[in-house]
């Protein structure tokens, strides 16, 4: 517990345990009859145990309660939800200004907004709402509901996790606390620290947000942003009812949204979150089931076992090592593209990694196709030859040669550039199953570049150690990072991960890649009001980045999910969320 090594060992022990158990569980489950048998003998089906509340209307055809796997969310309120579990629940409880097409991820006006328009190429936006939307407590969803929500999240002293999402709105800075210069307790150097008590923010509302009337508000951005509309379906931009501001802590236990499902009782921590269909949902796609119960599991492997035994309807995230087992033992299995990518970043600030040929050689020496089909992943990942995920508009399968497998050219470049003298350190975060593939990558380097494996050391740290070190330019070799979209737009990948002004802590340009040519191309692309005009420009920017190889795209995530015959219409979108309104029960 004292050292990082100790903690890693603890995590490794548990991970090993899961691994061993998963291996040993491989063969006994090839009898597909087992789940049906056990349904009859073990627990009663959930439909009977969860009597719908009196408030719901008579169950429609295909009604009933569906149970779905989830991990314990951190929060259940838009200002603080920045992780997948909370997002999943909120996506059932809320509907934003827009929504995304589950298959194409394109923005659709199936949310609260009637129209979102900008007359000046993305500097000011006029948002008109549809009439008749209400929160679950009966209060109307108005322009004020959005403006208050966004101001709350942006206001520094509220310390909302999603605060950064509002930084592009004019006046965001006025809502941040002032800073004082203090010596750092560790290093003694003078650093600026936020001082919310001594220097509270100048304002509680962003100057860029103005309510015109109940169904109309305008947003002024600090800089033009043509893709601003695309962002607005994300969790952070959901509206909040007045009940939230009265008591955010109480709200968190029983969140009131405006979506197709509403809470049935309070959040039973670590046990379950029950929702029922919202009879007053104003959208075009109401829930088709009576209710949805999120069963909270501490370990997804347990949920998979419950799924196989017929005690659970849906598991929307099957761990890679259990995919084969679930495919064999569970009646239905689905796989869709996700927006997530894993990549190896280079510390461009380190002298050893400043030669682009060295970086290109390391990238071209990796056979991603073989890696994802090896026993490490068993085809549960898709090889990445691009940084932006396939679900994002403007995706190309390959960007340039540097991000493809070419062992001969890799060896030639390694030779001509002189490679890397001395030891190489490869960094990754511990306890998340990255060890195996990172090791496989090093073996490929050794095979294709003649790199001495004895010279390579692995440094694995917890996130709490790892991330601050990345932000402080502390990496000394290739390091593993991941990304998933906040909104389906190429800008969310290319600019956030590689733009010169987006180095930490402003953005996630953790390689500290700085190329004015790339920046200019991104600026040009961002200025295009039409996404179809912007896409070729993002692709040109991508080609520039690929030629420089500040990072190596490794593989894209896939959503793997299984469900029992009790439910139909199960589909997991690119955000990794089930499309809850499509769910129907069978029989």
């Amino acid at each position: 517990m004292k050292t990082k090594r100790g903690k890693s060992a603890l995590a490794a022990l548990l991970a090993f345990g899961l691994f061993v158990a998963a291996c040993s569980s491989g063969e006994p489950t090839d009898t597909t009859e087992a789940p049906e048998d056990t349904t009859a003998t073990t627990e009663a089906p959930t439909e009977t145990t969860e009597a719908p509340t009196e408030t719901t209307e008579a169950p429609a055809a295909g009604g009933g309660i569906v149970t779905s796997y989830i991990g314990e969310p951190e929060w259940l309120q838009p200002p603080n939800t920045n992780e997948s579990e909370g997002n999943a629940v909120l996506s059932a409880l809320f509907r934003g200004l827009i929504d995304y097409n589950p298959e194409t991820s394109e923005p659709e006006f199936t949310g609260v907004a009637e129209s979102i328009t900008s007359a000046d190429e993305g500097l000011t936006w006029d948002i008109v709402l549809k009439d008749g939307w209400t929160f679950h407590d009966g209060t109307p969803v108005t322009a004020q509901s959005f403006v208050d929500s966004w101001n709350y999240s942006a206001y520094g002293p509220n310390a909302a996790q999603v605060s950064g999402f509002f930084s592009s709105i004019a006046g965001y800075e006025d809502l941040q606390c002032g800073t004082v210069t203090e010596p750092d307790p560790d290093t003694g150097e003078d650093v600026d620290v936020a001082d919310c008590e001594g220097q509270p923010p100048a304002s509680e509302t962003m100057s860029g947000l103005a309510v015109v009337d109940d169904l109309n508000f305008t947003v002024t951005l600090a800089q033009p942003e043509t893709f601003f509309m695309t962002r607005l379906g994300y969790t952070s931009y959901y509206p909040l009812p007045e009940a939230f501001f009265a008591d955010p802590a109480a709200y968190n236990e029983s969140p009131i949204g405006n979506g197709p499902f509403m809470m049935d009782g309070s959040w039973e921590h670590d046990v379950e979150i029950r929702t029922v269909a919202n009879p007053d949902f104003a959208g075009e796609d109401p829930a088709q089931i009576d209710g949805l119960t999120f069963r909270i599991y501490e370990d997804v492997n347990t949920a998979v076992n419950d799924l196989m035994a017929g005690n659970l309807d849906i598991v929307d995230f099957v761990p890679p090592e259990r995919v084969a087992e679930v495919e064999a033992a569970v009646p239905n299995f689905g796989e869709t593209a996700s927006s997530s990518i894993n990549y190896l970043a280079f510390p461009l600030y380190d002298p050893a990694y400043q030669n682009p040929d060295v970086r290109a050689a390391l990238s071209m020496a990796i056979d991603r196709e073989t890696l994802v089909n090896s026993p490490i992943f068993n085809g549960t990942r898709a090889p990445a030859f691009n940084l932006q995920a396939p679900v994002i508009p403007g995706y190309q399968e390959t960007v340039c040669d540097n991000w493809t497998y070419n062992p001969e050219q890799a060896a030639a470049l390694w030779e001509s550039s002189g490679g890397i003298e001395g030891p190489i350190t490869v960094w990754f975060n511990s306890g998340a199953g990255h060890d195996a593939w990172v090791e496989a990558v090093v073996n490929m380097w050794s095979e294709n570049l003649g790199l001495d494996v004895a010279n390579v050391t692995f440094e694995q740290l917890d996130f709490a150690d790892y991330l601050p070190l990345i932000d402080e330019q502390g990496m000394t070799g290739p390091f593993r990072l991941g990304w998933g979209m906040d909104y389906p737009h190429p800008q969310n990948y290319w600019q956030l991960l590689l733009y010169s002004e987006f180095v930490p802590p402003v953005g996630s340009n953790s390689t500290f890649y700085i190329n004015p040519e790339f920046d200019a191309k991104i600026d040009e692309a961002n200025a295009q009001a039409d996404i179809n005009a912007a896409i070729p420009l993002y692709q040109e920017a991508a080609a520039i980045a690929c030629a420089d190889t500040p990072l190596i795209p490794m593989f894209f995530g896939l959503n793997q999910y299984g469900w029992n015959d009790t439910v139909d219409g199960v589909y997991v979108d690119a955000f990794g969320n089930i499309v809850y309104t499509d769910l129907v029960t069978t029989g």
């Binding site: 004292k2 903690k7 569980s25 073990t42 920045n82 605060s163 919310c196 996130f463």
Partner: protein
């Protein structure tokens, strides 16, 4: 005896402060910035990071942080987790589940372990004795996560004899399989300990005397051997009750019982000092109480032991 117990209870206060200080120091010593980790791969604005850091006093020196913590504790406030949940609430929700699991496991352990041990001890070197010896070695040598997963997959998923998870609301039936798994290793120890202790006492002079007086086998074992054979077993059992609770992480995770084990594990990974210290301190107190109970039990089991 009463004054002895009061004196021991007085020591608990000291144990409490020492335990909280030590655990707090250990969590403090973990390197890294837990606040930055909250954002994961995503960027975290500096102002947000600093506001949260100050809110949890993570920018203060160790003793100042501990002072904030301990003054809170004295006022009945164990602090909050990073997602703003009261630690007292987390403990009061999770602790009863772990306690329930541990008590079921304990009952199984005592009943099966002690009776198997006695039976094997009496029938030394017979078939049942060998069976106990072999099966306990087997159970002890298999790691509990393997045992747990296998039991769940075979008995729960494939055969469907017992529920896969404890369920909601958790039933006695649902807790049965996890309790057996949790009890299994300790049960094996209890059986072996009881057996060897009994075998040893059966060889002692007073047993020979009792036998030569013509007492029945039942009386020799029931009155003269059984009680003092239990002294090492009781010591083990009492310490084990604490160990069952602290060591239930794996069982709780496999059978989805949201008890304190998993909470501590995750709080350590997230470096949530308040949560770790709160829960571990509760465990420390349980250990201390269990120890006191053992010491008192000695006097009950063996009249030669007195505390005056």
């Amino acid at each position: 005896m009463t004054s002895y117990i009061i004196r021991r209870l007085g020591q608990f206060v000291l144990v409490f402060f020492a335990a909280t200080l030590m655990i707090y120091a250990m969590v403090f010593a973990i390197p890294g910035d837990p606040i930055r980790a909250l954002a994961g791969d995503k960027p975290m604005p500096d102002s947000l990071r600093q506001t949260l850091t100050q809110q949890f006093h993570l920018d203060e020196p160790f003793l100042v942080q501990y002072w904030y913590y301990i003054t809170g504790v004295i006022q009945g406030d164990l602090g909050t987790s990073f997602n703003n949940r009261e630690v007292t609430e987390i403990i009061s929700e999770r602790f009863p589940r772990t306690l329930r699991l541990a008590i079921y496991a304990f009952i199984i352990e005592v009943i099966i372990g002690v009776s198997a041990g006695i039976w094997a001890g009496i029938r030394k070197d017979k078939f049942f004795d060998s069976l106990v010896k072999v099966s306990t070695v087997a159970v002890i040598s298999v790691p509990i996560f393997v045992l747990g997963f296998m039991a769940q997959l075979i008995i729960g998923v494939r055969l469907g004899w017992l529920p896969v998870t404890a369920g909601n609301p958790p039933s006695l039936y649902g807790y049965l399989l996890p309790a057996i798994v949790l009890a299994s290793v300790s049960l094996a120890y209890v059986a072996r300990l009881t057996r060897s202790s009994l075998v040893e006492n059966l060889r002692s002079d007073y047993v020979r005397t009792a036998k030569s007086k013509g007492l029945t086998q039942r009386r020799v074992i029931g009155v003269h051997t059984f009680r003092n054979s239990l002294i090492p077993v009781v010591t083990f059992l009492a310490i084990d009750l604490g160990a069952l609770m602290g060591g239930a992480i794996v069982t709780e995770t496999i059978f989805n019982i949201p008890g304190i084990g998993r909470a501590v594990y995750e709080a350590v990974l997230a470096q949530e000092g308040n949560v770790v210290v709160g829960i571990v301190t509760v465990l420390v107190i349980i250990y201390a109480v269990a120890n006191l109970v053992v010491d008192v039990m000695y006097a009950v089991l063996d009249p030669r032991i007195r505390y005056d």
